[in-house]
């Protein structure tokens, strides 16, 4: 028993003395692993050149809301990189780890790269799905994960809504449109990953709504399932926000490194790596270089259509919000 408790104590000490040389922890969501693997290597090289310091960057990946919760509960993230602003807002409201205006600290709403919602259809597009209007036709089956629990689902909902209002439709029209769209959803999976399985492996649905950045991954993994991508005429700009976690970096003395880590995402090299991993870069220069992978389409932002995440959350997704009302109708 004594040995066991010694071992245990050893582990506590080991865990707390891991940072002999400087480490950063980047807490991120599910599918950014490959991207940050490359980016971390590049940044470590860059930082070594610039400051002479050897850095280690650790990664944590998981469901985005859960990851944000973990940071609020004490997971010592130096930086947090999410795909929705409200997952970072939690850190400001819950535990005051960052200031409320965190999004204003870096260019482009603190989102160095973006993505958008596109459609995946069966090879040859047998239902001739070209744009959002084709998804609400009767008899078309669309796979969308639950908007309350997944980024994919949420952005898909917002994209459909924005599609109507951007074309001059009223809120009422948008509501009817989204109601029709969700009436065509056969199952609500909990996350983007499960929805992909539903569509590609279980062969359910005529179309899957997913992030452009995940299309490549899906096509790679489901090479034999024969799917192809369809770009609608317009869609939503899914901004992937990042922030340093002030309370953590100040405690660990890593603010300088963490700040540089995020700044470097906006550099040419950072943007280039993002583009290679199918995230739309903010830099026009890099975007042009990768024009072949990023088909131009009209993109609208959450802010211009919905007036920001806080309002959006309250109106659409809080309990009893428009989303709940839409589901209730079915």
């Amino acid at each position: 028993m004594r040995n066991v408790s010694l071992l245990f104590l050893g582990l506590v000490l080991a865990a707390s003395s891991v940072q002999a040389d400087t480490t950063l922890l980047n807490v991120s969501y599910d599918v950014t692993r490959e991207f940050y693997k490359d980016y971390n290597a590049a940044f470590i090289r860059h930082w070594k050149q610039q400051s002479g310091e050897t850095l280690t960057v650790n990664q944590s990946h998981g469901g985005s809301s859960k990851q944000a919760r973990s940071v609020a509960d004490g997971l010592e993230a130096d930086v947090i990189t999410m795909n929705q602003a409200n997952d970072i807002d939690i850190l400001a409201t819950h535990g005051k780890l960052i200031p409320a205006d965190w999004a204003k600290r870096l260019p482009n709403n603190s989102a160095p790269y973006t993505s958008t919602i596109v459609f995946l259809v069966r090879r040859g597009n047998p239902r001739a799905i070209k744009d959002w209007d084709d998804l609400v036709k009767p008899g078309v089956s669309v796979v969308i994960p639950n908007p309350k629990t997944s980024g994919n689902g949420r952005y898909s909902y917002l994209a459909a809504w924005g599609y109507v209002t951007k074309k001059g439709g009223t809120e009422q029209k948008a509501r009817e449109f989204v109601t029709k769209l969700f009436a065509n959803v056969p199952v609500f999976d909990g996350g983007g990953r499960a929805a992909t399985t539903t569509f590609a492996q279980r062969n359910i649905g005529d179309a899957l709504l997913t992030f452009e950045s995940e299309v490549q991954l899906i096509q790679k993994e489901f090479a034999d399932s024969q799917v192809e991508v369809v770009y609608p005429s317009q869609s939503i700009l899914a901004e992937a926000p990042v922030s340093i976690v002030d309370k953590v970096v100040d405690k660990r003395g890593t603010r300088k490194q963490a700040q540089a880590y995020l700044d470097y995402l906006y550099s040419d090299e950072g943007q280039e790596i993002a583009a290679k991993h199918h995230f739309r870069p903010r830099s026009e220069k890099v975007l042009n270089r990768y024009a072949a992978s990023f088909k131009p389409l009209h993109l609208f932002t959450v802010d211009e259509v919905f007036g920001g995440w806080t309002r959006l959350q309250k109106v659409h997704f809080d309990d009893g919000g428009i989303y709940d009302q839409i589901l209730l109708k079915q």
Binding site: N58, Q59, G74
Partner: protein, 302 residues
């Protein structure tokens, strides 16, 4: 000797015959039921298991082995082994102590202790994990103290070990309590009257008698310790190469569309399950063989 020894062997066939005539189901009912059970087994057990191995090896053994040799996978294996290596012995000691106390003594609060032992079975593992977050998280009871002393429990190895210990602690005790209760105190009393100390009695009498139950409990405890997902997921923080256990690693690989690797790592867990089942049957068989020879024989042997 021979007459007495074959006696118990002669009983089962007659008992079996009696039973089948007593229930008196026609053959087709029995065969239908058996077939139904087999189809269910095949559908819900063998098929998924086979799928795991099929998917794992689909892209070739090279991909399979690379997925297992990858640094993050190795560290997940290491962490899983550490968690099991601590929680199994800890629960072994706890299980023996608790079972001993419950089976052999009368004391106030005994029923509360029994209920508490069952607690991890009763609550969802996710809740078990959240309990630790509530205790040791930044907003938790000990959160500020821990942060002030720069000690990390959750989102680090100690939290994973704690959560694993918590979800696995009923296994050994639950196996031992009924066994020890059934055995009663006779042999222990005999040992004490013969001059053995409490410690000697435990080592020489109680534990050898309970060894199969103990082993069984340890095997189950280990399987759960290595396979636990929910509780560990909540307290892990999912830091690659540091706080991911095997099941968490599988989930993340899967969510990253990295199928082959996810199934490769999952196949390790499936293998663990198969080994566990094998060991479990072996232990049951051995314990069963021993129980058979324990049948009282009242007749003189020679």
């Amino acid at each position: 000797m021979s007459a007495a020894a074959t006696l118990p062997l002669q009983i089962p066939p007659t008992a079996h015959k009696l039973r089948s005539t007593a229930t008196g189901e026609p053959a087709w009912v029995r065969w239908t039921l058996i077939a139904l059970a087999l189809v269910f087994l095949a559908l819900f057990l063998f098929l998924p298991l086979a799928t795991v191995f099929y998917e794992a090896l689909r892209k070739g053994t090279g991909v399979y082995l690379n997925a297992l040799r990858e640094e993050d996978a190795l560290s997940a294996i290491r962490l899983t082994l550490i968690a099991a290596a601590i929680s199994v012995p800890a629960n072994l000691v706890f299980g023996i102590a608790a079972a001993w106390a419950i089976a052999k003594f009368e004391f106030r609060g005994k029923s509360i202790l029994i209920t508490l032992i069952d607690l991890p079975f009763a609550v969802s593992p996710v809740i078990s994990g959240l309990i630790y977050v509530l205790l040791f998280g930044a907003q938790g009871w000990f959160g500020s103290w821990l942060q002030a002393h720069d000690l990390r429990i959750i989102f680090a190895v100690p939290g994973i070990v704690l959560a694993t210990v918590f979800v696995t602690f009923p296994f050994v005790a639950r196996e031992l309590i009924p066994l020890m209760q059934a055995q009663g105190n006779d042999e222990e009393e005999a040992a004490i009257v013969l001059g053995a100390s409490g410690w000697q009695t435990l080592w020489r009498v109680t534990l050898p008698n309970a060894k199969w139950g103990l082993l069984y409990g340890v095997i189950l405890c280990n399987a759960r310790a290595m396979g636990e997902f929910g509780a560990v997921s909540v307290v892990s923080g999912h830091i690659r190469g540091m706080t991911n256990t095997l099941p968490l690693h599988v989930e993340i690989l899967y969510n990253e569309y990295n199928f082959a690797a996810a199934f490769a790592v999952a196949s390790l867990l499936a293998l663990l399950a198969l080994i566990t089942l094998g060991l479990k049957s072996l232990v049951e068989w051995r314990a069963g063989a021993q129980a058979d020879t324990d049948l009282p024989q009242e007749r003189p042997a020679s």
